[in-house]
Symmetry: C2
Subunit: 567 residues, 2 copies
């Protein structure tokens, strides 16, 4: 049964299996059951292909009303249990393209469209919205086609207004900007004591005093995790394809297979839960050429770095949802675990309750100075990482462009010269002609070597820089949390001094602010510790590859020079 | 006494001591005595400086006639013996800028303006005309400002019409194109027997049969010659400057000092005399920045290559004018030698009389095929030399531009990163920061190494390619001589067969054509012999420098990598 539909948004095709549709364009749909949020159909120019279900309204044939106010229903938003869309005349519920929906009905073991899926509709900044499927185009970064400008995800903060407003009578003023990360993250509510202590908290993360100050206590079970064998899989009769990765944690014998969208689910859980911790964004999506070898390779390298950061982090690595992601191979269990993770109450403000902090006294002024210094540092590091990313990207471009071209050109010219010399056999020495020709091939080869080299050094550098760009991008918001907490302490102390607040309450605020300060310092310390290791490794690996490269160039040239020896 | 003058040609200033003048512009001249063909004065825009004397007409104050047909006289064209220009009303003798004049009155020992100077007014193609002084702008190559397109002098051929027309009764038709090199060089006259054998010929050049065919007999006294110490000299109260080179032939103890214009004088003598021999052009003039270090260095390197070709050539190296150039240190003797060289009768057509050829029979058909093959070869070699010149020039540009820039950029970014890390002393390792900073300096340094490297390899390659461009550019005309001679043989044989010519006369033509053929083959052989040596040397030198360069890069990187070892 073919059904008519009308495009409610313009959609630009970005893969060959997709078709572009214009706002108000009439479309014919082959099957109103969307798959992964996509419908198949024909546009008014006769092009056949896929487009996002949420971009169109299905036009009921039994309804004769005109296009603009006909009975409409969002396709694909109700999942596969309701293949027949109810006729809802005058309905205005057609979904916005960036509304969260999960429709994955042919991916039988990871059915995400159950009602327990948290609809993340309270965060206008969330960059991952509507991108559950690998082809979710709803939220393209405007820079996604520019390899030199890297996508930076802002950390997601849960708004905790409902918590803070549930408790009356607090006398310290609340921030008027309800969208500030301090408020949205729930840290304001936590500091003001609006988050009720829970009877039983299963999770606990300890902050201890190390040689350089507060630090996360190491995970009792440290492990690493490999990501291997990206493999192309198809579904939807071969039209839609995706890549599956083999994920093997070091402390488990068994591997699991995960798609990018599973990483994306995990990433969103992490953002949801972990206040005060910098969760690096996933490797960016790429609109076109998703299955080209280079892209797959790049995404794999960057997922590995992302995973290394996850496993190296004492808090993140112990997250139950992460464990579930790493180990669950059973469909039913996966669903259950997903729901459990999504129902986790210890998120945002409540997550702050899970910290065990040292008794050691810290002067809040000192902590503030330390945080300010870290803020300056992250700004400067962010700038220099950006500068190095730019430099390395330009170097890649030159290696693939000018360097390759010029060595090639020189090589061709030598070969041409050798061919000229061959025209006069009695008067020219064949060994010399061969040597010159060999020199030509050598320089052509050196050109290719230059073009290949970034794969061995600059790409790895760019991968690591991208990870750090993601980590660094989170700190302004995280630092803002601590700043907000300090402001509350000062305010409450002043009120207490003026007799407008009980000293007990002011002390409570100060105590909770210490928790925020310890957590932030632990996170800062972890960042520095990883940074030292990562950048040392990065620099050494880069230099080693560079040395090996120029040595290979020297070897090539030496071999070539020897061909002249016998002349 | 200041004198008025009118510009008869537009002249564009190309050095800071020069001023531009527009056609018809009125000028004030400080002194009507030109120096080196230059006058000093003020143009209508009030700019003071030098301009070529031949570009202006002196306006006599005693004459009141209007500008266009006033009594005019070329400045500087009559030499310093006649400081007062005769008033010649209605004269139309204002010299063209490319007419030959030599005016060198302050250069006391090489006074070139004597009446015996051969006025080279019979060759419209002569590229060197009027460029006796190092500043002669009269004949700028249109490409002289483009380093990638090299100036190619066409060999100068003397027209020998006067000789051929002096003899009546020759029955073989003459070429109608009197400007063809065959005619202008005098080879037509020689082949047709129009050049009378002279009673006493002091010069003699022997062609012998070598393993690969006819070749020049080696010079009995082979030698080499160094060119060193380019030194800036000034004259004309310091306004005009020039460079003097120390020239030391290996078989003489004493050095002589020569300017570029002396080389130019020698070059013009060589073009004048040596038919059938490829005389490479001198390193090109450069309009601006003549005294910049790089230009002086480049000219010196190229003069050395030119000199090496001269001394390696069995015929050119024995030329009396060359000997004079190499040895004469005395002013009086120099003048005498110059006049003698300029009065040399064994030039052009007569030079053909100086060859001693082997008795060996050569089938003319074979010779023609050999020449045709050489023609194809020179064409192809010329193309590939051009291509290699282009490739090497582009590589120079990249070394100085993109390569340097990108390594620099990367180096700066590393240093910036190190500075960021230094902001958090307790959390960062000073040795790592220092190592990263060191890496930054290393890459900046490598950028400089890339920019410096062309001086050690590509420049030398370009020098040699430029010499060969000059040599190759002469062959089309030289081959044309032989083609013309063959045509005459065929024509005369046909006439003899038809009884229209005595067999003796036809045999004479054939015999003289053999001389042309032997001479050309000897020159071809010499070219190949030098080419083999020169290009082998060029390639080896280039590869050695390239290896040394990349080894230095490796060493730099290795030293840098070691700074991470202790971390």
């Amino acid at each position: 049964m073919s059904v008519k539909a009308k495009a409610i948004y313009t959609f630009q095709s970005e893969n060959k299996e997709e078709i572009s549709i214009q706002e108000n364009e009439e479309l014919v749909i082959f099957d109103e059951h969307s798959v992964d949020g996509w419908l198949q159909g024909v546009n008014s120019r006769g092009e056949k292909g896929l487009f996002p279900a949420s971009y169109v309204e299905i036009l009921r044939q039994r309804s004769n009303s005109n296009l603009t106010d006909s009975s409409i229903s969002p396709a694909g938003s109700l999942g596969n249990d309701s293949p027949h869309f109810p006729s809802t005349p005058n309905s205005t519920t057609s979904f916005l393209p960036n509304q969260g929906y999960y429709d994955d009905d042919d991916d039988d073991w990871d059915d995400w469209d159950d009602s327990s899926t948290v609809v993340e509709d309270d965060d206008p900044d969330h960059p991952r919205r509507g991108s559950g499927g690998p082809n979710g185009h709803a939220h393209h970064s405007p820079n996604s086609n520019n390899p030199n400008v890297h996508y930076r995800a802002k950390p997601r903060m849960e708004r905790q207004d409902s918590i803070s407003s549930s408790r009356k009578g607090s006398v310290v003023g609340r921030n008027l900007n309800r969208f500030s990360s301090f408020v949205r993250s729930g840290v304001e509510a936590f500091v003001l004591g609006d988050v009720p202590m829970m009877a039983k908290i299963a999770e606990s993360y300890t902050i201890e005093i190390g040689p350089k100050g507060p630090q996360w206590k190491e995970s009792p079970q440290p492990f690493s995790c490999s990501i291997e064998d990206p493999t192309k899989q198809t579904k939807f009769k071969g039209i839609k394809t995706y890549i599956s990765y083999r994920v093997t944690p070091s402390h488990i014998d068994a591997a699991v297979y995960r798609r990018y969208k599973h990483f994306d689910w995990l990433y969103n859980r992490l953002l949801h839960k972990f206040t005060v911790i910098s969760v690096p964004h996933l490797p960016e999506k790429q609109a076109t050429g998703r299955f080209e070898e280079d892209f797959i390779d790049k995404r794999k390298r960057r997922l590995i770095l992302w995973m290394n950061h996850m496993t190296s982090h004492p808090v993140l690595s112990q997250y139950e949802g992460f464990e579930h992601f790493l180990m669950c191979a059973d469909d039913k269990q996966w669903k259950l675990g997903k729901r459990r993770a999504e129902k986790d109450e210890m998120v945002g403000a409540h997550f702050m309750l899970t910290f065990q902090i040292p008794n050691e006294h810290q002067d809040l002024q000192d902590v503030e100075e330390r945080v300010d210094s870290f803020k300056c540092f992250t700004k400067k590091m962010d700038d220099s990482v950006m500068q190095l990313t730019h430099g390395a990207s330009e170097m890649v471009r030159r290696h693939l462009g000018e360097f390759r071209k010029e060595f090639h050109r020189l090589g061709s010219a030598f070969q041409c010269l050798s061919q000229a010399f061959m025209l006069e056999p009695p008067h020219s020495s064949e060994p010399l002609n061969n040597a010159i020709s060999h020199t030509g091939r050598t320089y052509e080869n050196i050109g290719e070597m230059f073009a290949e080299q970034p794969k061995f050094d600059l790409f790895q550098m760019l991968d690591k820089l991208s990870l750090y760009q993601g980590l660094l991008a989170n700190f302004p918001d995280i630092i803002h949390l601590q700043k907000g907490a300090f402001a509350k302490v000062k305010e409450s102390q002043k009120m207490s001094d003026e007799g407008k607040m009980e000293q007990d309450e002011a002390d409570g605020i100060r105590k909770r602010c210490r928790t925020v300060g310890f957590a932030l310092q632990a996170e800062m310390s972890h960042f520095h510790q990883r940074r030292e290791v990562d950048f040392k490794d990065m620099m050494q690996a880069y230099l080693k590859e560079q040395i090996a490269f120029y040595q290979r160039v020297v070897q090539q040239l030496e071999r070539t020079l020897h061909t002249y020896d016998s002349l």
